[in-house]
Symmetry: C2
C-alpha cells in the first residue's frame, strides 16, 4: 500500500456537483419518503426498486451516431477493448419503469400501480442548490386509459402533501388536459401538420403569459411584438378571429375568476336580503332553494364547474377538445365524489408542463403560501410535484402503445417548504452522554448506558480522551445531547448519578437570574435505579 | 423522436449483473434497514449519506499508471476532451467515510460515530446470487483508540441480530485480535521484515485449517505437504519448537473446547455427589462454595475466561501479543458488565478476516443454525456481518493516523437467513380491490375506496377493462388481495355491498366439502356503513 513519496495527497472532496448529507438531513428526508410511501401503498401502489445502472440502449435518450453518450447522463463503456455495451446511471425513474414494464409485462398485474423512490443522476452543470444527484419519488399507473387513474393520482397527491405536513389551504393540485389545448388549436384553424410552425409560436406565446401579460401574448399571436430594447419578435400571423379563440383560452383563468367575483358580490346582496327566507328554506330542506343558495353564496365551490363550462364553450367545435373537457369533467366528478373539492383540486388551463411529452391530463401540486426569497422579498413557494398521462411508455421496446399516468414528487423542494414553514426540527435530539470520570470504571459506564438503551433511550459513553472533563461536556453539546450523566467514585459508592440537564442548562446560561439558577438546578442527583424514569420525564 | 425504421428495438433488460426488486423484496429490505438504523441510532450513531459518485482519486484504489481505472469499480472520465477527472461509483461505504471524515474532521464531533446504508457497486464478474449492485449497512466509530468502541460495536451487533429476528442462541459474535496473532508470530521467532515470506506461508496455512485439518496445517509449517494428487506445497520450514507455538494457536479453540468438556463431566459427578451439601451451601450463600459450584457446573460460561488464559500463556513472551490479550480481556469485561456473556460473544482466535487491513480487534457475527444447501445437505448458515479496527482511515488524505473501528452487516445474507427460518412473509398482503360492476358508477366505487383508505385500509378500485368480471377477480388474486368488494345497482339501491373473502375463498376452493361451503360462505352482504368494521375484523 506504500506509495512513492512524489504522489500528491488526494483532495478529500466529493466530485463537482455532488454533496453529502449528515444526521437530520438524512433522517428528515427518510421520514418524508416513508410517509409518502405509506400513502402510495394505501392507494394500492407496489414498491419497485430498479437498478441504478441501465444500458444506454434501454434508457434510450441517445442517437446511434453519438460517439460517447454522455449528454445529460453519466455513461461509460463496459470493456471498451471488446466494444462492450454502454452503461449509464438512470436520470429519472420513468425510463427504468418503461424498461421494467416491457420486460415483465406478461407477469405484472394490469393495470400495474408502482411507486419508486431513490437517487437519480444528471450530468449537468451544477449550480447553487442544483446537484447532480438528487432524489425522486414517483407513482405511476401503467396499462389503463381510464381517467379514473389520473383522478386517483391527484387525490393521492393531495393526501401526500397533507401527510407530510402541508395544511389544507396551503396547497392546490391544478389539473389541465393536453387535449383541450389541441382542441383550441383546432378551433382556431391551427390543426394539421402544415400549421406546426404557427402552433409552435402560439405555444411559446402562451407560455410567456406570466412575463408579457395578456397584451404581449396577443401581439405575438398577430403580427409580432417589439420589446423594450427594440428587438422585434415575429408573430404567428393569426387573424383576429383566430387570435380571439386563443385569447379566450389564455384568459380563461382570469375570466372565470372575475365572473365568480361578480357572483360573490351578488350572492352577498342576495344572502342579506333573503337570509330569513334562506334559513327557513334550509330547515325545510327544499332542494331547489338550497342549490340556488349554494351556487350563489360559495364563491370558490363552483370554480371547477364554471371553468369546465367556459372551456366547453370554447372547444365545442372540436372533437378532441370536447373529449378533453369531458375527461376533465369525469376527473372532477370522481374527485368530488371522494370529497376532493376546489379547495384542493382546481381545473386550470394555465398548467402547461411538458406538453410535448404528455398526451392527456396533466397535473401539478403547488404550495400557495409565501416565503421570503434570498433577497427577502415574498414570493409564492410554487410547484412541488407534477405529472400527467403519457402513452408511449414501452413503444420503443415492444412497438405497442401502453397508456400510463404518473406523478413525481420533488422531495427536496418539499423538505425546503416544510423547513420554511418551521415544520421540521433543524436537528434531531442527540443521545444522552454518559461521561467518564474514572477511566477504570468504563465497564460501569457501559453498563449504565446499556440499561438506558434497553429502556429505549438513545445513549452513549464518551469514548474520547476522558482526562479533560470540560471536553466531555463540549462533546455532549456538539452532539445536541439532552443530558449528561456523571458518576464519580463517591456517587458510585452511594449508588447515585448526577444528571446534567443540558437543554435547561443552556437556557439558564442564556437568561437566568441567580435566583432562577438556584430554583431550577440544571444538575440533580438521582439514584441509579431511578435514572431511567428520571430521564424519561426529562426527555418527554 | 421518430427513428429510422432500421434501428432495432432495444432489449428491455437490465445490464449484466444487475437486477430489479419488486414489492415485498423492497419493503422487507427496507424494514430490515429501518430496524438496524434504529439500533445504530440508539447507540448514538449518526446517519451519513455520502454521494454515490466519488472521484477515483478520493476512492484511492488505483495506481496512477493505470490508464483506465476500471478494475473492480465502475469509472468514467468527465469531459475526456479536456482530460477531466475520473469519477467512479463507490465500491463500499468505508472509502467514502474516509473522504468525508478527512474533509470535515474539524467540525465533526470526536469520536464520530456514524452509520450509513445504501447500494454499492462492484465491477466484477457476476455469478449466481452475485450482483454488481448490492446493499451495505455499516456503523463505524472514528477517532478513538479505546477498545470500548470495539466492545460497543460487538454488543450493538448482537442487538441488531436480535432486533431483526435472529433468536438468542441462533447467532454468536466471535472476536479475535490481530495483535495476538502478531504475538504468536513473535514468540515463534517469525517477527521482523526478513521473515515476511515465512509469515505469509504460515498465515495461508492457518487459513486452511477448515480444509486440511490440524495435521495438514502442521505439515505446511514444516517441510511441506503433498496433496492427494501428488502435488507438493513447500512449507514454511519451521523448527518443531516454532511449529509447536503456531499449532497451540491453531488448536486453541479445540483445546479449550475439550478442556471445558472434561470439566463439565467432572462437574456433573461433583454435583451428583454433593448436591445435598450444594443446596444447603447455596441457601447459606457461602460465596466460596458458590463460586466453586459455578465454575464447575456451567460448561460454557467460562469459555472466554479459559480462552484468554490459554492465549495469555501462549504469547506471554511477546509484548504485542500480551497487549492483544489484554485488549480482548478488556472487551470481554466491558461486554460482561452489560450482560453480553459467552452465549452471545465468544473469544475465538480462528477469526482471521482481512488481517492485512485490520490492526487490532476483529469481529464477526455468525448464524449457528443449519439450513439446507441447494443439494439438500445441511450446512451452517455462516457469517452475516464482520468488521474490526483499522488505523489508516484518513492517512492518505491528511498524513495523520486516525484510529477507527467499524462493522458491516450483510443485509442480503441476513434477509436470506430470515427467509430460511421462515421469519419473513413471502408476500405482503395486497390491497382490498373494489370491483367495477357498472362502469357509470366509477365515482361511487372511488368513494367507497376513499372511505376505506381514510380508515387506514389499503384499497384500490379496479382500473382495467371492467367488462369481464372474472378478470377483475383474477387481478385481485394476482395482487394478493384479502377481499374484493362488489356492488351492482341492486346492492347500491339497498345501500349494501358484497364482500368476497379471497383468503377464505382460496382455502375453501382447495379443501372444503359442500357442507363447509354452505356453512362458511366466503361472500357476505354487508351494509355500506358497516364495511370498514367488517373489513377490519376480516383483516385482523
Amino acid at each position: 500500500m506504500a506509495k512513492p513519496k512524489k504522489t500528491p495527497r488526494p483532495k478529500p472532496v466529493p466530485p463537482r456537483g455532488f454533496r453529502d448529507y449528515f444526521g437530520a438531513e438524512v433522517t428528515q428526508r427518510k421520514a418524508m419518503l416513508d410517509a409518502i410511501a405509506e400513502v402510495y401503498a394505501l392507494y394500492g401502489f407496489e414498491a419497485l426498486e430498479s437498478s441504478a445502472v441501465e444500458t444506454v440502449e434501454a434508457l434510450g435518450k441517445f442517437l446511434p451516431d453519438v460517439d460517447r453518450p454522455n449528454e445529460g447522463v453519466f455513461a461509460w463503456q463496459e470493456e471498451p477493448e471488446e466494444n462492450g455495451p454502454w452503461l449509464a446511471l438512470r436520470y429519472d425513474l420513468t425510463a427504468p419503469l418503461a424498461r421494467v414494464y416491457a420486460e415483465h409485462r406478461n407477469t405484472l398485474p394490469t393495470p400495474y400501480r408502482r411507486y419508486a423512490m431513490g437517487p437519480v443522476w444528471r450530468n449537468e452543470k451544477p449550480g447553487p442548490g442544483r446537484f447532480r444527484q438528487f432524489y425522486q419519488c414517483d407513482a405511476d399507473t401503467v396499462g389503463t386509459a381510464s381517467v379514473a387513474a389520473d383522478a386517483e393520482i391527484c387525490a393521492m397527491l393531495a393526501d401526500v402533501l397533507e401527510r407530510v405536513g402541508i395544511a389544507r389551504g396551503d396547497y392546490v393540485v391544478r389539473i389541465n388536459n393536453r387535449k383541450v389545448l389541441n382542441g383550441v388549436m383546432e378551433v382556431a384553424g391551427l390543426a394539421g401538420d402544415d400549421r406546426a410552425e404557427a402552433r409552435g409560436i402560439v405555444l411559446r406565446a402562451i407560455d410567456k403569459l406570466d412575463r408579457l401579460g395578456s397584451d404581449g401574448v396577443r401581439a405575438l399571436l398577430g403580427e409580432g411584438r417589439k420589446d423594450e430594447s427594440g428587438d422585434f419578435t415575429e408573430g404567428a400571423g393569426l387573424s383576429n378571429a383566430q387570435a380571439e379563440v386563443i385569447m379566450k383560452f389564455v384568459n380563461a383563468y382570469s375570466e372565470v375568476d372575475s365572473a365568480l367575483a361578480r357572483e360573490a358580490v351578488d350572492a352577498e346582496e342576495f344572502n342579506h336580503e333573503y337570509s330569513e327566507r334562506l334559513h327557513a328554506a334550509r330547515d325545510a330542506a327544499s332542494p331547489v332553494f338550497r342549490d340556488q343558495w349554494t351556487e350563489r353564496s360559495s364563491d370558490r365551490a363552483l370554480w371547477n364547474t364554471k371553468m369546465l363550462r367556459h372551456l366547453q364553450v370554447l372547444v365545442s367545435d372540436s372533437d378532441v377538445g370536447s373529449e378533453g373537457v369531458r375527461e376533465l369533467t369525469d376527473i372532477k366528478e370522481l374527485l368530488d365524489a371522494q370529497g376532493y373539492g376546489p379547495d384542493r383540486i382546481v381545473i386550470d388551463p394555465s398548467v402547461v408542463r411538458g406538453l410535448g411529452y404528455y398526451t392527456g391530463p396533466v397535473y401539478e401540486a403547488e404550495l400557495t403560501f409565501e416565503i421570503l426569497d434570498e433577497k427577502g422579498r415574498p414570493r409564492q413557494f410554487g410547484s412541488v410535484a407534477g405529472g400527467g398521462r403519457y402513452d408511449d411508455l414501452v413503444t420503443r421496446f415492444t412497438g405497442q402503445q401502453v397508456p400510463a399516468t404518473g406523478v413525481s414528487v420533488g422531495v427536496d423542494r418539499l423538505l425546503a417548504a416544510l423547513t420554511a414553514k418551521g415544520k421540521l426540527q433543524a436537528e434531531a435530539p442527540g443521545p444522552v452522554v454518559v461521561t467518564v470520570m474514572d477511566r477504570d470504571r468504563m465497564a460501569d459506564y457501559q453498563s449504565i448506558c446499556a440499561t438506558l438503551r434497553q429502556a429505549g433511550i438513545r445513549a452513549e459513553v464518551y469514548l474520547g480522551n476522558p482526562r479533560n472533563f470540560g471536553n466531555q461536556l463540549k462533546y455532549a453539546d456538539k452532539r445536541g445531547s439532552p443530558a449528561a450523566i456523571i458518576q464519580g467514585s463517591d456517587e458510585a459508592a452511594r449508588g447515585v448519578v448526577q444528571v446534567k440537564d443540558l437543554i435547561l442548562g443552556a437556557k439558564l446560561a442564556e437568561q437566568a437570574t441567580v435566583e432562577e439558577w438556584k430554583e431550577n438546578p440544571s444538575q440533580v442527583e438521582v439514584p441509579l435505579d431511578g435514572l431511567v424514569d428520571h430521564l424519561k420525564r426529562l426527555l418527554a
